[in-house]
């Protein structure tokens, strides 16, 4: 298991390097001189040259590339082109908001999605199954910003159950928790749809396996056949989908934070976009990618926990 973990860690390194490379060159092909973007169209040539020097933009591309990689390796993500603050400071300030949102929706997704999927599979092709599938289809169809707007309209504006609050109010833990409910429901319910669907289909695949027939042949009660024999074998594709879903979740969190006017990485990235703050964008993309690589790593390790064959590789 240790060797397996180490191997997975090693595989992550080239992926991260690839991520950094793509981000670096993507930002470099942006039309327009970053120095002009920062200083504005009316800046003097002297000021522009000075800034270019300061930002290292005069150096050859490859040198810029290696110093970029080197800096990231040391945890230096650069400074915002607009506020001149270190990007990492800004990111760390809002990160908890996004993390709590993602974690809450992940919990909603798993806690509701897994049992719903199992139930749909167990009562397959009955009306229970059809209703669960119908709602999961709906969940899969909603773009996150539309469901967010509808939730906002219904519960915050019409019913006034969960008022939308400003960033200052997040200091109060009760307020903060209340403010978390709608956005995390929005993300969580969409996730429920994904998890329900994959759980159902994975369960159905496993149910037709020979060893499930074996379990029934030795008199294991139907309930235990489902929960003890089938579910555990069905987990691998479920874990895969949850891992892959993180990318979607991040995108949806950007939209959700926008609609609910919630502080977080998503709002930060939208602000940076509007200001054409490429250093911030570049740093955030790297941070996001880092999270996804981390999630993949956890997924791989979970495979090892679930499947003894993977463990014994």
């Amino acid at each position: 298991m240790l060797a397996y973990t180490l191997k997975r860690l090693l595989v992550a390194i080239p992926t991260l390097l690839g991520v950094l490379t793509i981000v670096f060159f993507l930002v470099r092909v942006a039309p327009g001189d970053p120095a002009i973007v920062i200083l504005g169209e009316n800046a003097t040539q002297v000021a522009i040259d000075q800034l270019r020097e300061q930002l290292g933009l005069n150096k050859p591309l490859m040198e810029q590339y290696f110093s970029f990689i080197g800096a990231i390796a040391q945890g230096d993500f650069g400074r915002s082109m607009i506020s001149n603050q270190p990007v990492l400071t800004e990111v760390l300030r809002v990160l908890p908001y996004t993390l709590e949102l993602t974690a809450a929706s992940l919990i909603i997704g798993i806690v509701l999605g897994l049992p719903l999927g199992v139930i749909a599979a167990r009562y397959r092709n009955t009306w229970i199954d059809f209703s669960i599938r119908f709602f999961s289809l709906l969940g899969l169809s909603f773009p996150a910003f539309i469901s967010a707007i509808l939730l906002l309209l219904a519960f915050a504006i019409e019913l006034r159950w969960f008022p939308v609050i400003g960033e200052a109010a997040y200091a109060d833990p009760v307020q903060r928790l209340r403010a978390l409910i709608l956005p995390s429901l929005n993300l969580g319910l969409i996730m429920v749809a994904y998890i329900t669907r994959v759980t159902r289909s994975s369960m159905l695949t496993v149910i037709s396996e020979d060893y499930i027939r074996t379990a029934r042949a030795k008199g294991v009660p139907a309930r235990m056949v489902i929960w003890r024999h089938t579910l555990r074998n069905a987990l691998i594709p479920i874990v895969t989908v949850i891992g892959l879903y993180l990318g979607v979740l991040i995108g949806n969190s950007v939209l959700t934070e926008m609609v609910f006017n919630r502080p977080g990485l998503g709002k930060l990235i939208v602000i940076a976009l509007n200001a054409r703050d490429y250093t911030t964008l570049q740093a955030m993309l790297v941070i996001y990618a880092f999270f996804i690589v981390l999630a993949n790593l956890i997924t791989d390790l979970l495979y090892g926990v679930i499947d003894p064959k993977v463990r014994h590789q």
Binding site: A3, K7, L10, V11
Partner: protein
Amino acid sequence: MTTLLDVKNVSKTFVVGKGFMGSRKAKLQALHDISFSVGEGESFGIVGESGCGKSTAGRSILRLVEPDAGQVFYQGEDLLTANRKRMRALRREIQIIFQDPYASLNPRLTIGRTLAEPMLLHGVATRRDVEEKIQSVLAEVGLPPQAMQKYPHEFSGGQRQRIGIARALALDPRLIIADEPVSALDVSIQAQVLQLMEKLQRTRRLSFVFISHDLGVVRHFCRQVAVMYLGRIVEKGSVNDVFEEPLHPYTQALRAASPVPDPRAKITVAKIEGDAASAMSPPSGCHFHPRCPKAMDICRREYPAWREVGHRGVACHLYPAKAGDAHAA
């Protein structure tokens, strides 16, 4: 009888596992020093249990698997050193039929297209006469002309196996590698397909390398046979000799374990215990010694050299070796 195919000292080792960043690559020796020859119009059988390398041996002849060492002479020409263009031409001469009639046909192509494709590609038929040629080969394997328009899923297992044979015949080959051609079929259908192959052997003067785990089928179809165990040939000779009076203890066990439809010949006493070892870590000395009831000290230490006993060959220390006769095949 002239020799059509002469396989000499062919070996193949597979590397398994990705071998990423320092992790150990496992080696699987699928074939070790395999030699045999097939005469014109002859059927040569290769028998053995799963994982013994018999399929790899068959595929090596066609270079579907590239051997690491050895030679495969077809009419005196080494196939393993033939260039791409020459090999393409030689493919017309040697064809293969497979075990699984469900996997061996492309489900998206009609039988007509499946048969036309190689004919047109190799110029065996022109657009004008291709249909006629297909009809004739279908008739030869006992299928109606309407089969042309149908898809594989519309046929039963036995019929699909006939189609597989028709495809092999499309290029008018002289040698056919038959890899467990009847193993997936029911007994009654098995006999139909075997009879068809016998007929083709007579009418077309085909040679066969016939690979099977079923000693009964091999005894019926082949004259010469090689017995394989963990990548090596352990015994070779005429089918009657080898199955009537097996020399190698493994052949003896295999023969004794093969069920016969006769209640007076019950086989409920196992001659050998244990499983075959993995080809990834074959036992030292003779690979069979851990299961062999007649194992001696030397068997643990030394792989037995090939020796001739009468008209047969065997790799076993039980029989006296003639000096300087190590790899005579």
